[in-house]
Symmetry: C2
Subunit: 319 residues, 2 copies
């Protein structure tokens, strides 16, 4: 069994790479997925990372945007603009800054209805992945509510989606915290998957806002540390830049190095090995100096072949 700790796009691509690699049956792959980006808009429960992974593995993701469904339409969102003009001051109804495609809406409708019936997010996620024919087991990191709060340099705090989507992650960040993480319980199946897997992979996701929330849950770091030898992380930073999203700037703003060395410092307690791209090969010694084994392997998953080779290498070094 392979367990992958997941954010959104980077993790989705790594899970797809595992399929391309081909040696592990999809049903033996578990994704433990960040839910601290989850939000409620229009009364709908939205789980961006879970959906990005599901749609990617279903072959239905929009390849350009990296999120949402391919061949999507935006009729409902277009119609929402009418209500922006009548929304009272102080209201955040009719948020047109968060685009929800018409077909994508069905997923949020289903999730919202099922949670309203008292189902746990884990259950609902299993139903949604089954509806999309996804064989991998996707497990939310917790069934409790954890919410990433981003404290901006100007002192105001915003939700993750406000930072990421509304503000297009273009404003400086002073701190990040995970509201509710102190009370939330790691999903028991996620804990089992992290404990019993042959290999745990930390996907090339944002170490702070994608992997950070899972690590903020009581017990996770201890669990990973206890089996550190077979935990491999893939660096989301290549050549000093994030492959996607604001990980590079966020690392800098929060006092870390926006480099594979900075990533190694964040992961060295819980993972034995860091996979870095040849572009960063000159930093391999610096990574090892931090206390991680460093493996150089093309990690920009630009073709299925590169992706499959990355997955193969990750499995090899962990076994």
């Amino acid at each position: 069994m392979i367990t992958v700790l997941c954010g959104g796009v980077g993790a989705a691509r790594f899970l797809r790479a595992l399929r391309a690699e081909g040696s592990v049956p999809t049903t033996d792959v578990v994704g433990v997925v960040n839910t601290a980006d989850d939000t409620v808009l229009h009364g709908l429960s939205i789980s961006p990372d879970l959906d990005t992974i599901t749609y990617t593995l279903a072959g239905a993701i929009d390849p350009e945007r990296g999120w949402g469904l391919v061949d999507e339409t935006w009729t409902a969102m277009g119609a929402l603009a009418r209500y922006e003009t009548v929304r009272p001051v102080g209201s955040s109804a009719a948020p047109t800054w968060f685009n929800l495609g018409d077909r994508d809406l069905a997923t949020h409708f289903y999730r919202t209805a099922r949670l309203g019936e008292g189902a746990r997010l884990t259950e609902v996620t299993g139903e949604i992945t089954r509806a999309w024919g996804v064989g991998e087991q996707l497990i939310p990191m917790t069934d409790d509510r954890v919410a990433t709060v981003v404290e901006l340099a100007d002192g105001t705090s915003v939700s993750f989606q406000e930072y990421f989507v509304r503000l297009r992650h273009s404003v400086p960040v002073r701190a990040v915290r995970f509201a509710g993480a102190d009370r939330a319980v790691v999903q028991p199946r996620a804990a089992t998957a992290m404990r019993d897997a042959d290999v745990v992979v930390i996907a090339p996701s944002n170490p702070i806002v994608s992997i950070g929330p899972l690590r903020a849950l009581a017990g996770t770091d201890d669990l990973l540390a206890s089996r550190r030898d077979s935990v491999v992380a893939v660096s989301p930073i290549v050549g000093g830049a994030a492959l996607k999203g604001p990980a590079d700037r966020m690392l800098l703003e929060l006092g870390h190095d926006a480099s594979v060395v900075g990533v190694a410092r964040l992961y060295c307690d819980v993972a034995s090995t860091l996979v870095i791209d040849p572009l960063d090969a000159h930093l391999a010694d610096a990574v090892e100096a931090v206390g991680m084994r460093c493996v150089v392997q093309p990690s920009v998953m630009s073709t299925p072949e590169v992706a499959a080779a990355l997955a193969r290498r990750v499995l090899d070094v962990a076994r």
Copy 2:
């Protein structure tokens, strides 16, 4: 000021007739609207009668269906079908029997978000009608939750929308009740409008499930009875049949006459006058025998001219 007691389609058409009549400024028209058909689906707060009236007055209603928006698309609903196959037994998530158009969804998104912020339905309704440029004041009968429960002949109970939409109102009904009506308070602005208007019109809506819920609220019947002389009802039954919906069968099944006489018996305590179509002119004496003045006037609003003439006659007889 003219106050119209409203269900959905029939009331929407009567309000449009008042515009065509032209003697009353739209801002002097108040619609007190049934909300006992309101429902929550996919976590979204849906108010069918309010929306039917708003869309009709905005000139945006689908003229064929009589509900929903013209030139609508159904992409989200189409995508929902995928989830029907994975819904567990006992779950009512992914209800594809209640069609929500993509553009229409924006209205439910806005309403749900505003109610979630603590706004009252009356406030939100004012915002929605403003967004659509509707000058008439639409006021929900109450800001509290009242839900029509339909008891079927087989003893099971279903929500109004399940009866009306899912079962296509094709099953016999044994009783109708309005859950929550005993605790709900008439919207204060609605009460004022019913008390102070020059004329109160009971629109040609279903007497039981459209006008019934408003009348089930404490004080409404007394208020109408105290000014009965200037309350005029327009019969929704023409030639023994409902113009739209199940009013005729429902009247019969609940022990009333499916005729203008049956309607008169239901309204005689709260309205002085019943307007009936020439098709029912032979029943005028029977209506008067029940204790209502009977006015014969073409009441099938098939053209703007017929509709305007109906509105004019209603205003004339009430003044």
